[in-house]
């Protein structure tokens, strides 16, 4: 990845280091992001974002509930999906070798990449060998995860996003905030402004009189990208599934931009996380029912492409598949956490999550936001950074994500497991430890507990009002009490009430039938 910067001298005499081919993303790198609560607080202040998100997540989760109800065997499907994924993951080495053999037999070229840098370098080398300086891209979480676009940019190769939402994000110098609908945080008038401002700089400009009508905005994207599709020599995609038995890759999409990329260019490079493997083509009958209903809340998505290596006279005649680890084997090594690798990136857990709905995707500091991100990111990246350490706490553990997950990932279980890990990896006295020790001493003996109850009773008797609000105390506790109202202690302890009740004969029966 040796960038050869174009040296140009700007008006003010300072050499501009690099002339970009594609719109620059925002300067903050995800790794350097502050921890989740800080990000969350910032995002919560953005009323437009909250309103866009609430509208979008409410719409899609209601739609999902409707199409899921149509299938009486939904639970059997979830169980089957879980079992097939478990089967694959527990024998992943065998299935990957089988996948490699099938792909090779089909005329595809298989590459293996330990990490993001290796994967990116493979794409750069192939693209350069074709003598081109641009690629068209199908929306892919794996390529976002390895930050392929920026690696290509540094190598002087332009990566054009072709999914409408990804285009909005790219042209908007922005980051995706949702797995499925990356521009979910933008409303139609913001999209119009982005198109008017940026489209013309990177290709066909939007038509005259562009309004904020979604159909017209989609039409502008069609015209803008058509020329890029027609001339593209190399395309980069991900894959939703990779079938070991037949060497078939699957891309599930809506707009047809995926089909354009998978069909028109001469060379196709697919970046596939090793966990995307499925044993057989027949297994798709389960996942092609689970995925569309869980993600776009449709009975079926508009387009799905399945291809098995090279097909003579049809589509790309040079097909590369890059199998990427990039932390996945670390996830696999954790017996509790490995279930996160079952994820099929549907985003149902994002749409149902009360935390995600309020803070949006950017606060998670990862390409994988929401509940699945909170368990996947700290496992893929480790918990060294502040944001990664805080992610397992970015949840109220309400469990809705587990209920909607099409492959039954028990996200709350993994969250608790990871919280435990974070605490163990960061030893030293924490307030939680001190509090727990104090609680243990207090409750260790009945008399101590009784005394504590008496103390609270006295406090409750003298404290004015029914709630305890902000306390005039310094440090962390001030912040904690500042955001919460707590009911003041009762004026009588339960123990005293119980004693009195025992003495009052006859009353107990009545009370017991409430």
């Amino acid at each position: 990845m040796t960038a050869e910067p174009t040296e140009t001298v700007a008006d003010h005499g300072v050499p501009a280091v690099h002339e970009r081919r594609t719109p620059a993303p925002p300067p903050v790198t995800l790794i350097g992001m502050p921890k989740f609560p800080k990000n969350a607080k910032k995002e919560l202040g953005n009323a437009q974002l909250r309103s866009n998100l609430r509208h979008a997540t409410t719409t899609i989760r209601n739609k999902r509930a409707r199409v899921v109800q149509e299938l009486p065997h939904w639970e059997q499907l979830r169980l089957a999906g879980e079992a097939i994924k478990n089967r694959t993951l527990r024998h992943l080495d065998d299935y990957l070798i089988q996948l490699e053999e099938s792909l090779t037999a089909n005329g595809a070229i298989v590459h293996w990449a330990n990490d993001a840098d290796e994967a990116n370098q493979i794409v750069i080398d192939i693209t350069r060998s074709k003598g081109v300086d641009e690629v068209v891209k199908v929306k892919s979480m794996a390529t976002q995860e390895i930050d392929l676009n920026e690696a290509l940019e540094e190598a002087g190769i332009a990566a054009w996003e072709t999914d409408l939402a990804e285009l909005i994000v790219q042209l908007g110098h922005d980051r995706p905030s949702h797995i499925l609908v990356p521009a979910i945080h933008r409303n139609r008038s913001e999209v119009r402004e982005i198109f008017l401002e940026e489209m013309g700089r990177y290709g066909t400009p939007p038509p005259e009189g562009l309004t904020d009508d979604p159909a017209m905005l989609a039409g502008a994207a069609r015209v803008h990208l058509r020329d890029k599709f027609m001339r593209a020599k190399v395309a980069v995609s991900g894959a939703n599934f990779a079938i070991a038995e037949t060497g078939t890759l699957v891309v599930v999409e809506s707009e047809g931009n995926g089909r354009m990329c998978l069909t028109l260019p001469e060379t196709l490079i697919s970046i596939v996380g090793i966990e995307k493997t499925l044993p057989t083509f027949a297994d798709l009958e389960v996942f092609m029912q689970l995925l569309p209903r869980s993600s776009t809340a449709e009975r079926m998505n508009p387009y799905t492409s399945m291809w098995s290596g090279v097909r003579e006279g049809d589509g790309p005649q040079e097909v590369h598949v890059v199998l990427v680890d990039n932390g996945r084997t670390k996830v696999l090594a954790d017996e509790v956490g490995r279930q996160a690798l079952r994820c099929i990136r549907c985003s149902a857990c994002l749409n149902i999550c009360p935390v995600y709905e309020r803070v949006g995707g950017h606060a998670y500091g990862s390409v994988y936001p929401g509940p699945i991100g909170a368990i996947l990111t700290p496992q893929l990246r480790g918990t060294a950074s502040e944001v990664d350490k805080s992610l397992p706490y970015a949840s109220s553990l309400c469990g809705a994500c587990f209920e909607v997950c099409p492959v039954r990932i028990n996200i709350p279980e993994v969250l608790v497991h990871l919280r435990n890990k974070v605490v163990e990896e960061n030893p030293g006295p924490s307030l939680q430890n001190i509090g727990m020790k104090a609680g243990g001493w207090l409750m260790g003996k009945g008399s101590r507990f009784g005394m504590a109850g008496k103390g609270a009773e006295a406090f409750g008797t003298v404290w004015p009002g029914s709630k305890i609000g902000p306390l005039p105390i310094p440090g962390w506790a001030a912040g904690w009490t500042g955001a919460r109202d707590m009911k003041k202690p009762a004026t009588e302890t339960f123990r005293d009430w119980w004693k009195k009740r025992e003495k009052t004969a006859g009353r107990g029966d009545q009370e017991g039938q409430a």
Partner: protein
Amino acid sequence: MSSSREAILGRIRSALADVPGTEDSTDIAVDWVYGQRPEGAADDMLGLFVERVEDYRAVVDRITSDELAGRIADVLAEHEVNSVVIPAGAPEQWREAVAGRGITVLSDDPVLSHRELDATGGVVTASRVGIAETGTIVLDHDADQGRRALSLVPDLHVCVIGSDQVVSDVPEAVARLQASIDSRQPLTWISGPSATSDIELNRVEGVHGPRTLHVLLVDAG
């Protein structure tokens, strides 16, 4: 790269140290019977298919095989298409009927360039399987359907499917498609015209694929 291959496989094996060496992948039970028609599947499968395809705002005509060639020509004429690509393996009557209306018929032989295809108004293809429950049509790009780009680049797709090709749901379809996959044919699953919900989750038909999908369901009887 082979060193990365060995490194990844090595890490997978040590990550799976808890999996007994004697365990076979099939020891993990998958409680699912493949290729079955789901219980309570609709009796009127064709009716459901039509309803579900129309749900995606595609147009469906139910016709007899005698009406087919004429209807293809009608649809193309209704859309004021000047040129159409009909794959070489499609029935000759389709070509004749369309040409009879003064519409230029291309057969992708010699192979059309992307730009030529982009300048073509429509495409007519056969198909492999229809799925009633989801309103999906699957192409396996046999000679009567042509290579994948044909049914992608032109803005109008007229798709012909026989009533005996329609199955209840995804499992039956996957079972029928196994033969195409075994011969390594690509598959394209189509559920309505190209669409997006990327702006405020508002469904908009027509982005990059054909903006109009017209299905001709031919009664096999």
